[in-house]
């Protein structure tokens, strides 16, 4: 395969001789998606996509041309187009780049898998239909859905300065959902949020025995929520389980620390950041308990990889240390532009979009408090599980998030279930109210396969792992008109 790409690079070089540097980035994606609804077949979908992005550097300016035509003629034509675009933009760029931001990296990476052979479609549907049955815990369940998605991403990168990268990522995700209704009250419950159970790995991730138990729990809790009071509206201690911490980290830590946002690239679409480049190294982002890592080396977490898509080798880096911001989430390009330390995170949704800064796996490191001790320490609080709503301002400061399931904490004990729990706050003060961080026993990783950003727009898969956390004095509230 790589020898073919080398041959195509030669063809590109012939067509774009004036380029100071050329790179080819091939991406092949294959996926399957099976879904059952209310105990019956709903969808079975397969997909394959393949193409190449040619990148050319001319007079300090990179430009690209993406093509699905992977013949030497097709790639040569793309190379000529990329060079023409670079020439047209030369002297007008945000930064005068050189090939040092496209290192001559050699890298191989493949997702570790236990079960490499796929379960046959009839076997998958056997699970899907059974899980719909488990989700339907009572006649008050008016909809059940269960789906399994699996796929692989193949990446190949070669360049005129010697980059040689080959990576294959495998993922599998399961989504379980029940909708319950009693009178005018309707409640939806899922297993860890939409697509939250998406991880890198093989078909061992389709652990049907465990997932069927989860389906039963989800169905039972959907009905339980029908009889629950709405979440109270006041200020209290907020305890977030990892399947909500995932979202909290993503929106209020990950995005504001992306250096391309700090540099203003995203101001017209996804937004900027309340963080300035000069804050890196000194800003107190959170309490002393807050330690955030960029870690693409965690086996099984959704955004693990060996190198990013401009050839920067991926290694674990601490981003926030004891509450102090020490590093941004920016690629070699962003680091060169901003003059601050970053990570290997320039990634693209596919062959037809240029790589941009992405957060990859962004995790909150475990602390030392058990869940039992954490609950016992709270006089008045609410524990929330499973994200269902997310909204935050374009500087990533004022947020409002909602969860599927809440439990009141009164005098150190979990007492009663509440429905429609929401909370709101401001990122720059919220994390400073982090009052307890759970131990490794509470630590869990979830996937976010649908992070949108960029112009042209791109969807990216990222991963977040976190222990349970407590935040003091947070505004919480319930639903209703």
């Amino acid at each position: 395969m790589r020898s073919d790409l080398r041959r195509l690079l030669d063809a590109a070089g012939q067509a774009a001789k004036e380029a100071a540097w050329l790179g080819l980035r091939r991406r092949r994606t294959s996926a399957t998606y099976y879904m059952a609804r209310d105990g019956s077949f709903d969808q079975a979908v397969g997909g394959i996509d393949d193409g190449i992005m040619v990148e050319a550097l001319y007079d300090g300016q990179f430009a690209y041309a993406a093509t699905p035509d992977m013949t030497p003629e097709g790639v040569a034509k793309a190379a000529a187009s990329a060079l023409a675009s670079a020439k047209a933009a030369a002297g007008r760029g945000v930064h005068r780049f050189d090939a040092s931001v496209r290192p001559a990296t050699g890298a191989r990476y493949e997702t570790p898998r236990v079960r490499k052979a796929a379960t046959a479609p009839d076997g998958v549907f056997g699970f899907l239909l059974a899980s719909c049955g488990a989700l339907k815990s009572s006649d008050e369940i008016i909809q059940t859905t269960s789906l399994v998605e699996a796929g692989r991403y193949d990446y190949e990168i070669v360049s005129t300065n010697g980059a040689d990268i080959e990576q294959t990522l495998y993922y599998l995700g399961t989504s379980l959902q029940a909708v319950a209704r009693r009178g005018d009250v309707v409640q939806l419950r899922t297993a860890n949020g939409p697509r939250g159970l998406t991880r890198q790995g093989g078909w061992e991730l389709l652990d049907t025995e465990t997932l069927l138990k989860e389906a039963s729990r989800v169905g039972t809790e959907a009905v339980e929520l029908l009889g629950a009071d709405t979440c109270p509206s006041d200020r209290r201690t907020l305890v977030l389980m990892p399947d909500q911490m995932m979202l909290q980290i993503h929106e209020s830590v990950g995005h504001p620390l992306e250096i391309d946002r700090i540099l203003g690239d995203e101001r017209n679409y996804a937004g900027g950041s309340f963080v300035k480049a000069s804050d890196i190294g000194s800003l107190r982002y959170g309490s002393d308990l807050m330690n955030i890592s960029y870690d693409p080396t965690v086996p099984g977490e959704l955004a693990s990889y060996g190198a990013d898509e401009i050839g920067n080798l991926a290694v674990k880096q601490l981003i926030i240390k004891n509450g102090i911001l020490v590093r941004g989430l920016g690629s070699l390009e962003s680091q060169a532009r901003a003059g601050v330390p970053g990570v290997a995170n320039q990634r693209a949704t596919s062959w037809n979009r240029p790589p941009i800064d992405r957060m990859a796996n962004l995790n909150l490191e475990p602390g030392s408090t058990s869940l039992k001790d954490m609950i016992a320490s709270v006089e008045k609080g609410v524990l929330m599980r499973t994200n269902r709503s997310w909204s935050i301002d374009d500087y990533r400061n004022k947020f409002q998030f909602g969860c599927e399931y809440g439990t009141l904490i009164e005098d150190g004990k979990l007492t009663k279930t509440v429905r429609d729990p929401n909370y709101r706050g401001v990122s720059s003060t919220f994390w400073r109210s982090l009052s307890a961080v759970g131990d490794r026993g509470t630590f869990a990783a979830y996937g976010t396969p649908n992070c949108g950003k960029g112009e042209p727009n791109q969807v990216m898969f990222v991963g977040h792992a976190s222990p349970v956390c407590a935040f003091s004095d947070v505004e919480v509230f319930g639903g209703g008109k």
């Binding site: 079975a44 699905p68 035509d69 009839d122 101001r267 112009e455 639903g479």
Partner: protein
């Protein structure tokens, strides 16, 4: 490689439908484009380039079995001929392993359509100069895109539809050092340097209001004028947990209370799907046509829901050409009688909302959404602009915003063209008025 996408589609269609065996039926949908992009920040090029892409979606039915697959195409006729044949062979082998599909809806529609809209676009080598030079001196950020976009669908019953359009879009914002910005766009089929220069001049003028001191609001209820641009963010919620029949039947819609008569919107509010806007084809992926106009909400009450053939089969009701996700397309919100020029006077004292940002549900069943104000939202006193507001979070039920609190709808409407480029340069748009709301709830 070819840029003659119509010939490419015809060849693919002939292969895909020609491969069918007795008892097999299929629908195909096709998407292709050749696009040029230039992303810019602070008036300088961040990333630029071109994209050639084409893909095919095929639904294959045999007996009670259904299977779909999506295939990236190479744009080389011979390569793609093999890919399609291989994919059909693989699908054929997989079908027996699937359970029966109880709500299989094989399209019977056999209409044809062919709509082509040409354009006068910029020579690609001139894009940086022609787009950026007129904005010299501005902190100018956004994206320019242009090129040919094609959509097509056909099925084994004989439907055959083609849609192509050449368009451009400058989607931009211009920023002041104080962090305030004006958001605008220039879109169309025939580029005009003069029209673009006028748009940029208007943006420069709009920045003047934003250099005034910032007004910090306390949480509470405020009169608000919601512009068409801001309202466009709300239109998403007509599709997401929206007016699709399946969601209403299965508990996921936000409008169940409205359907059941427990809630309503204002008599002033109504919307339709209106394909006469000409920005999006009326056919769906199965080759079925939606009516030119479908009234969804009229006088604050649901008149029709959005129904795909699968839902129609499940519940024994008529379909109306919806896509599988039953999303609202080509939305046109009814006009009212408030002259747009009187908007500030009508506000009196309150907020002129230029743009919303990042909306999501607070409580789906209460049709309650939260979001932020963004860009050039202004504080108005006695009908006069005082200055920009510090961005605020708001949280409001659509049964209030489009219901009891809706005071007026503008006479003028604006066509807001689709700017999203996830996977493809998307087609579509909405025709929207401005709304005057009394008591929008600002929370943070």
């Amino acid at each position: 490689m070819t840029n003659d996408f119509k010939a490419h589609f015809d060849a693919i269609k002939a292969r895909a439908l020609g491969e069918l065996l007795p008892g097999e039926r299929a629908a195909i949908s096709y998407s292709a484009e050749r696009s040029a992009y230039m992303r810019f920040n602070n008036g300088k090029v961040r990333q630029s380039g071109t994209v050639l892409q084409a893909d095919l979606s095929i639904k294959l039915w045999k007996g009670a079995k259904s299977y779909s697959f999506q295939l990236g195409l190479s744009c080389d006729a011979d390569v793609d001929d093999e890919r399609v044949a291989d994919a059909i062979g693989s699908a054929r082998a997989l079908l027996p392993l699937l359970p029966d599909d109880p709500y299989q809806a094989v399209p019977e529609a056999a209409e044809s359509s062919d709509a082509r809209y040409g354009g006068k676009l910029l020579p690609e080598g001139e894009i940086p100069a022609r787009v950026l030079d007129p904005a010299a001196g501005l902190d100018f950020t956004g994206i320019y895109s242009q090129g040919l976009v094609c959509r097509a669908a056909a099925n084994s019953a004989g439907a055959d539809h083609w849609f192509q359009t050449e368009t451009f879009l400058v989607d931009y914002s211009a920023w002041l050092p104080n962090g305030r910005a004006v958001k605008s766009s220039y879109a169309g089929r025939d580029w005009s340097d003069g029209e673009y220069a006028a748009r940029i001049a208007s943006t420069r003028g709009s920045l003047e209001n934003l250099s005034k001191p910032e007004k910090v609001l306390t949480p509470g209820k405020y009169r608000a004028f919601i512009t068409a641009d801001a309202l466009n963010e709300v239109v998403t919620f007509f599709s997401w947990n929206g007016f699709g029949e399946r969601g209403l039947r299965q508990g996921e819609s936000a409008y169940i209370a409205m359907r059941e008569g427990r809630e309503s919107m204002s008599p002033l509010f109504g919307f339709s799907q209106d394909f006469s806007l000409g920005v999006q084809p009326a056919f769906n992926d199965d080759g079925e046509l939606a009516p030119d106009r479908l009234v969804v909400v009229e006088g604050g009450r649901i008149r029709n829901t959005i129904v795909c053939s699968r839902t129609a089969k499940q519940y024994g009701i008529p379909a109306n050409g919806a896509g599988d996700e039953e999303e609202a397309r080509s939305v046109a919100i009814d006009a009212g009688d408030l002259p747009e020029a009187d908007a500030l006077e009508a506000i009196g004292t309150g907020v002129y909302v230029s743009n919303f940002h990042y909306l999501n549900w607070s409580d789906v069943q209460a049709a309650r959404i939260t979001g932020m104000t963004r860009f050039s939202c202004l504080w108005v006193e006695d009908g006069e602009v005082v200055g920009p507001i510090k961005d605020m979070r708001w949280d409001e039920s659509l049964y209030n915003m489009l219901g009891a609190k809706l005071e007026a709808v503008t006479r003028e409407r604006h066509l807001i063209v689709e700017s999203m480029t996830y996977d493809h340069r998307q087609v579509g748009g909405s025709l929207l008025p401005g709304l005057l709301v009394d008591g929008l709830s600002f929370t943070l």
